[in-house]
């Protein structure tokens, strides 16, 4: 198939970017979206032009590194699918495809389609952990975790941190990401000790990173590759309110 591509090219953080048009022949419908971009880059390198930079790693939908906005939708037209798992059969011959980076105040563009998602790392390191003493690994069954609870925690833990929720949210809110991390730990007994501090710290960091407010439009859940539920956000609100209003101890 033949494709007309319009791709966001931006030299670095500070430069102004613009959409550049490319034509790509002989695209195989079995190619993944990233393989299509690889093909384009081969063509660019052959012509002594600079290749388009984009993030990727596993290419099997589990690492959360990839992610671009395709025709105005994060990760493209297919729901609950990462960019690397999107295949060219979803597009038509001679179609024009517009490719832009994820955009939000919290995600500055580094180059071309690459954005800086360091804000997510800083949210995690502000409280998304459980403090344990080092030494021998404790016996796994000393703290029982019910099956339902373990499953629920795992549902939240399924978040791969790709940032599609932020890119999809009209407010550039990181509520779905942050809440999935808070909920995952809030459910587990091992993490209960730091529960209150965790909610307060992670939300404080989220705000510092210039993400917007959650308006509960629920768009994030629809476009999330893992279908992380918006109820995590309600849970985060509960955790926050509990920590700030219901707890009187320091």
């Amino acid at each position: 198939m033949k494709l007309y591509l319009k791709i966001w090219r931006q030299k670095d953080r500070v430069s102004e970017g613009k959409l550049v048009e490319y034509t790509l022949d002989n695209v195989n419908t079995h190619m993944s979206f990233l393989e299509m971009l690889d093909t384009l880059n081969n063509q660019l390198i052959t012509n002594n032009e600079e290749p388009v930079e984009f993030d990727h790693d596993c290419r099997e939908g589990i690492c959360g590194q990839c992610g671009v906005v395709i025709n105005g939708i994060a990760h493209g037209p297919l729901k609950n699918t990462t960019t690397c798992q999107l295949h060219m059969r979803e597009f038509k011959d001679n179609e024009t495809i517009l490719i832009e980076p994820f955009r939000a105040a919290g995600f500055p563009v580094k180059k071309d389609l690459k954005v800086d998602r360091g804000a997510f790392d800083r949210i995690i390191s502000s409280g998304g952990y459980v403090s344990v003493n080092t030494g021998q690994a404790p016996e796994a069954n000393t703290i029982p975790v019910g099956h339902e609870t373990a499953e629920a925690a795992f549902d939240s833990a399924a978040c791969i941190g790709c940032g599609a929720c932020v890119a999809t949210c009209k407010n550039g809110s990181a509520a779905l990401f942050t809440s999935a991390k808070i909920t995952q730990l809030a459910l587990l007994p091992q993490a209960k000790e730091e529960r209150d501090q965790r909610a307060l710290k992670m939300i404080a960091q989220m705000d510092k990173e210039q993400f917007g407010h959650c308006s509960n439009t629920e768009a994030c859940e629809v476009e999330c590759p893992q279908g992380i539920s918006v109820l995590n956000i309600a849970r985060m609100n509960y955790e926050y309110n509990r920590a700030s209003f219901l707890k009187f101890k320091k």
């Binding site: 959409l19 906005v69 025709n71 105005g72 939708i73 994060a74 517009l98 832009e100 994820f102 955009r103 939000a104 105040a105 919290g106 995600f107 890119a167 999809t168 949210c169 009209k170 407010n171 550039g172 809110s173 939300i203 404080a204 989220m206 705000d207 210039q210 993400f211 917007g212 407010h213 959650c214 308006s215 509960n216 439009t217 629920e218 768009a219 629809v222 476009e223 109820l231 956000i233 309600a234 849970r235 985060m236 609100n237 509960y238 955790e239 926050y240 309110n241 509990r242 700030s244």
Partner: protein, 217 residues
């Protein structure tokens, strides 16, 4: 002040307004009575409300809620606009309802309506010259009937109620979640409750000017 606190203020003021709306609605259903009976009981009810100290307190909370809700709506919307990304082609709309994305615009319509509404009735009742009915109460009923004999005003009220309905369909379930009150089992019921509450009250309110227009012209 952080995102959570701002949203909690929006939710508390918004949900208080929703609660007020129900009381306001129940009181106003007296307008559906037969004209003479409606005039007597509606005017009596109005003068009871102005005299009552408890009602006075609630009305101050009401004014404060409207003001805070509008101020925080502006603050939140401004921050959100800056925080959100803008794309040269934007098809993100497929994943959410239009009214959930346009709460600020719906709210602005409601705010304009509230100003008009206060001017129509509240101001006239408090500070305007208003006649007495045969039972010695200020004749607000006649003011209401006279107002709603104007077709354009009826249309404005109906449009405002449509905006309010959409604002509340999104607002009630959103506000409840903002407060962290949720349970996976009841989420669906809370959404249905919010929708029924919003539609029932707004349709009910919209029917009042329509009813008066058609029975008094």
């Amino acid at each position: 002040m952080n995102t959570q606190i701002r949203k909690i203020i929006m939710a508390c003021t918004g949900l208080f307004l929703c609660f007020f709306l129900l009381i306001h609605f129940l009181g106003n259903t007296q307008l559906f009575l037969a004209p003479e009976e409606a005039r007597k009981s509606f005017n009596m009810y109005s003068s009871f409300l102005t005299g009552n100290i408890f009602v006075k307190l609630v009305s101050y909370v009401l004014y404060l809620s409207i003001i805070l809700h509008a101020i925080y709506a502006l603050i939140i919307s401004t921050i959100n606009r800056k925080a959100g990304g803008h794309y040269s082609t934007d098809n993100r709309g497929r994943s959410s309802k239009w009214y959930s994305r346009n709460m600020g615009i719906l709210g602005t319509i409601i705010l304009i309506f509230i100003v008009l509404h206060f001017q129509n009735f509240w101001y006239v009742y408090k500070f305007g010259s208003i006649g007495l009915d045969p039972w010695g109460h200020k004749d607000l009923y006649t003011v209401v009937v006279t107002a709603f004999q104007q077709g354009w005003l009826v249309i404005v009220y109906v449009i405002a109620m449509a905006a309010l309905a959409y604002h509340l369909i999104q607002g009630i379930s959103s506000g409840i979640r903002t407060l962290g009150l949720f349970h996976p089992k009841f989420v669906r019921w809370i959404n249905i409750f919010g929708m029924v509450y919003a539609i029932a009250i707004c349709v009910g309110f919209a029917l009042m000017p329509i009813y008066i227009y058609f029975t008094h012209n």
